[in-house]
Amino acid sequence: MKIRGRRIVPGRVAGDVLASPVPFSFVGGADPVTGKILDPSTGVADERLAGRIFAFPHGKGSTVGSYVIYGLAKREVAPAGIVNASAEGIVAVGAILAGIPMVDRIDTAGLRTGDRISLDGDRGTVELPGVRATPVVTAVLRNRGRILIVRRSEKVGSFRGRWSAISGHLEGREDPKARAVQEVREETGLRNLLFRAAGAPILARHNQTMYVVHPFLFDVASRRVRLDWENVEHRWVRPAEELDRFQTVPRLKDVVAAVLH
């Protein structure tokens, strides 16, 4: 699959991903001489940056980080490419000084350490040859501060028994929002949806499948829900407090957060 982001530094490169789920500071986060990761919160401490495509949400910390990236490149222990969810000045300037191809606006949580990917800094894309993209829509329904979650039945194709918001596959060139409205009608019987927000796609990884989730938020006037065969029970929950108690489909919390604030 190919993911479209934004180009930051030109150049094309292929390599293995080194992924950190948390923002990264090059000052203190990596050894400036060896390029070894020092920050344990990344989950990849002791791994080396050299030749890898380093994926993390965004940079943080001192602006000296730009100089650290430059120094790593000079010693030939810098990452071969950088992917961010949202680029900021420190890492972008470092990548420019070091000539490291870089792309942002890619949900880095969809990439895993060890993935083989191609990064195209000219076009602003990332390609994962071994991974199949499955576009889906997720509709978060809200009524007086609570959102609807449903437990998936044993008859559906994936994530049976897990809690989810209202979801469905997106076919061909279908309009995601129209599909979301359709899914809500079929799975809950609710009508008169008031559209509130659409979020940037969230990448939810399941083995070699990448669910590209298009999140939507609708307000609904009623909590009276009529489930179809796809789900077996439903709850109206307070998203901030209660979501953690349920066994959900991957990244439901991030999908909800993408449209709720």
Binding site: P32, T63, V64, Y67, G71, A87, G89, A92, V93, L97
Partner: protein, 366 residues
């Protein structure tokens, strides 16, 4: 140029604007280490500044490092950093207060300054326009002579976000305390202060603290700062800072019991402040050292005051400042009236802090 264009597109700036001056941070070897030194020396082979540019403080006083017990390796690398900047055409100011040594951009003038206290002063007190640049972006702006136009360069970006009413009459280190409290509360916002007045020096301390505990690059002060009158405040969120808040802040930023040194800087002291310290020290001689940080320009022009302070066991250091200097090997607990100092010393220098007025500190350690 590539750096500026990339930063411009990250911030969705539509164009670059010409600047009349730049001020770069990232000159202390303690802060930028070998990666910074290496980059600057490489860069200095070709790069030359296009506009008058000043540089932030170094990690030690270049003239007094031996007496300070600075390791020769540190001093040597520090001198190389200073040389690299000089080669690129920077004015060797080594000061965090360019506005006290003659660099005073006027109302509406675009500049590219790093060093958060200088940014806050330039925007708020002078009415010049700069974003909070980092070392590398200010360096790029200095070489190109331009900076991306967004944020505090635009009228929109200079509008206040919060009204902060101060109900107590501040004096001395109260200005630092107001800055610390307001910064914590407004975070990335732009505060519009009401209810007090202050001199340029007072506002320097306020801005430095505000830009430390918050990431503010500017404030307005009703009836004092040049853009306050036209700043729209209608319908803004409002908050109040009372004497009780200031007392609580002083307590929360104080974690030391007995000071080893009274340190005055962060930002560097003005000529007037250096003379005042000399006067106070003469009147109330302290039993612990008083270290004063100022610019080389101010030190050289006030040798009489310097003599008084040093005769009373103190030191007046130039080229460097409180947190970026190497002093943690000498003193464990630092007493200071600086809010910015109190904010950074525990993390950057692993030191304990006593935050209080200069008068109170001199009395306590008389």
């Amino acid at each position: 140029m590539q750096i500026l264009l990339a930063l411009g597109s990250l911030s969705e700036a539509e164009r670059l604007v010409r600047i009349t001056s730049a001020h770069v941070s990232g000159a202390s070897y303690k802060m930028i280490g070998d990666p910074g030194l290496e980059f600057l020396e490489d860069f200095a082979r070709d790069a030359r500044v296009a506009v008058p540019t000043t540089v932030n403080p170094l990690g030690t006083d270049l003239a007094q490092w031996k007496e300070l017990g600075i390791p020769p390796d540190f001093a040597e690398k520090q001198a190389r950093i200073a040389r690299a900047y000089a080669t690129m055409g920077f004015r060797p100011s080594f000061s965090c207060t360019p506005y006290l040594i003659g660099v005073r951009p006027g109302l509406g003038e675009h500049v590219a300054w790093a060093e958060s206290n200088a940014v806050c002063f330039a925007n708020s007190v002078l009415g010049a326009r700069t974003n909070r640049e980092g070392g590398p972006s200010a360096l790029a702006a200095a070489i190109v002579g331009a900076t991306p136009e967004y944020g505090l360069h635009t009228d929109e970006g200079r509008k206040p976000t919060t009204v902060v009413r101060v109900t107590t009459k501040p004096r001395g280190s109260d200005f630092s305390l107001i800055g610390l409290v307001a910064g914590e509360r407004v975070g990335e916002g732009l505060p519009y202060f009401r209810g007090f007045h202050g001199s340029e020096e007072d506002l320097k301390w306020l801005g430095a603290a505000l830009a430390s505990s918050g990431s503010c690059g500017m404030f307005h002060l009703d009836g004092v700062t040049p853009e306050a009158r036209r700043a729209p405040t209608k319908g803004l969120r409002s908050m109040t800072i009372t004497r009780r808040d200031l007392v609580a802040a002083k307590r929360s930023y104080t974690d030391g019991d007995e000071a080893d040194v009274i340190a005055l800087g962060s930002p560097q002291l003005s000529e007037h402040e250096v003379r005042e310290v000399a006067h106070r020290v003469e009147r109330t001689p302290p039993r612990i050292p008083v270290w004063v940080f100022t610019s080389r320009t101010v030190r050289d022009a006030n040798l009489e005051a310097v003599g008084i302070i040093e005769r009373h066991g103190g030191r007046v250091l130039a080229d460097t400042c409180l947190e970026v200097t190497l002093l943690e090997h000498r003193f464990g607990t630092v007493a200071t009236p600086s809010g910015k100092g109190a904010y950074y010393l525990p993390s950057l220098c692993k030191q304990r802090v006593i935050l209080d007025d200069i008068e109170r500190l001199l009395e306590r350690y008389a």
